[in-house]
Symmetry: C2
Subunit: 249 residues, 2 copies
């Protein structure tokens, strides 16, 4: 049987009881090589591959799952930019007939939101800026519609050393919308891990000093752009749910 | 100190280690009355209020937090339609000066996604259909932009016994878009709790038989509408991340 397991940040405190118990009883753990450190404490055989080797990793996990209990581990939630859908697809295309079960985990935007205050506290969009598998024009089209809808926007994979174009083009689009609204922006790096850092700023500050932010933001960073009601309250980034517009306190 | 704590479905297996340890050491737990059953096992004093009494509940928790460690418990994640932002707001408006910390939890869309297969495995929108605090025209505007952007759409609070209009109006909008695409729809009721049920269908099936679905769907139901690539694979609802378009297997 194959379990596709989300482990949140990888920090032990963010594992659910279900994930913890499962990893204690499987025969084999399969994961991305940089996440090995998060699952070594279970003392199980671990198979890893590197970035862009996702198909090898999933195919190996499925083959081993024929006569073992295998955990294919994703950070965050296994169905949110994780490997769950690829496991179902390869299982079908190759006719493996393996039973698959997903164990949910805390996704990065929940971790980032808790650190920043409560920016996700109204309707929001989750979008990845990686153009490895998604054409840039689709990313930018979605980003624009998210702004038109006045959603809070949570950006995964905002940029990498070699991939800055989607981010820069998106900030150009945001600058059009920012004429009417100085969006609050929260940035969290290494959420829940060693070296966690965060900062809260506004789009205008960010855009004015974009070179500095391009240095700070990396693959392990989550950006949250507020909606038109998001504000900074006692140094935290807060999106009101609307109670105080409706009720007197 | 006030901790605003997400407990996922409420089922013990979905608590993180952090939430578990925290609830074992606070002096007081404050929550919605129907969630009392999820926290009784911690043997702490519990203060509850009912629906629409959120301000009373948060205000009480903040006042008690002056000289106690208090956990204000939300189901799912405390910053996703939970009470975290209201706690920050009341704390500021009333000048309580209480230190607040959010403990993230698994939100309902991750739970629902794991049950359905992997429908959230690409860019998605989370939107609540409750018009108690958000005007209906904003809900419908956002829903339309989410469809224009070809996002996967996850709907919280789809309808209640007395609130069916937002859902019915949204389904009318969806029927315009469904001329080009028969959207896959996943519906999960009581995710992670007793009496969990799910079904996977298409928009056309749902719309044809809408009276039956209006009976099935309730406040404790999550709806996920796929994007144009979402498909049914071996009975599960899968949104491909795009690997198999790019790489040969």
């Amino acid at each position: 049987m194959l379990y596709v397991v989300g482990i949140g940040s990888g920090n032990e405190k963010h594992f659910t009881k279900e994930a913890e118990e499962l990893l204690n009883r499987v025969d084999l753990i399969v994961c991305y090589k940089n996440y090995k450190k998060f699952v070594e404490r279970f003392n199980k055989p671990i198979y890893t591959t590197g970035m862009t080797k996702e198909i090898d990793r999933v195919d190996y996990a499925l083959k081993e799952a024929k006569d073992k209990d295998v955990a294919l581990v994703s950070s965050g939630d296994a169905t949110i930019y994780g490997l769950a859908s690829l496991a179902y697809e390869i299982n079908a295309v190759k006719n493996y007939g393996i039973e698959i079960k997903v164990i949910p985990g805390i996704t990065a935007c929940s971790l980032a939101s808790a650190i920043l205050g409560s920016p996700l506290n109204h309707d929001f969009v989750v979008i990845s800026f990686s153009d490895l598998l998604t054409p840039l024009e689709i990313i930018l089209k979605r980003f624009r519609y998210a702004l038109e809808g006045d959603f809070v926007i949570c950006i995964y994979n905002p940029l990498s050393k070699r991939r800055k174009e989607p981010f820069l083009k998106a900030m150009e689009i945001l600058s059009e919308f920012a004429k009417d609204n100085n969006y609050v922006v929260g940035i969290v790096k290494n959420a829940g891990r060693d070296n966690e850092k965060y900062l809260i700023t506004t789009f205008k500050e960010l855009y004015k000093d974009i070179e500095r932010y391009l240095e700070f933001i990396d693959m392990n960073t989550i950006l949250i752009i507020g909606n038109s009601s998001t504000k900074i309250v006692n140094g935290k980034m807060i999106t009101p749910r609307g109670y105080l517009n409706k009720y007197k306190i």
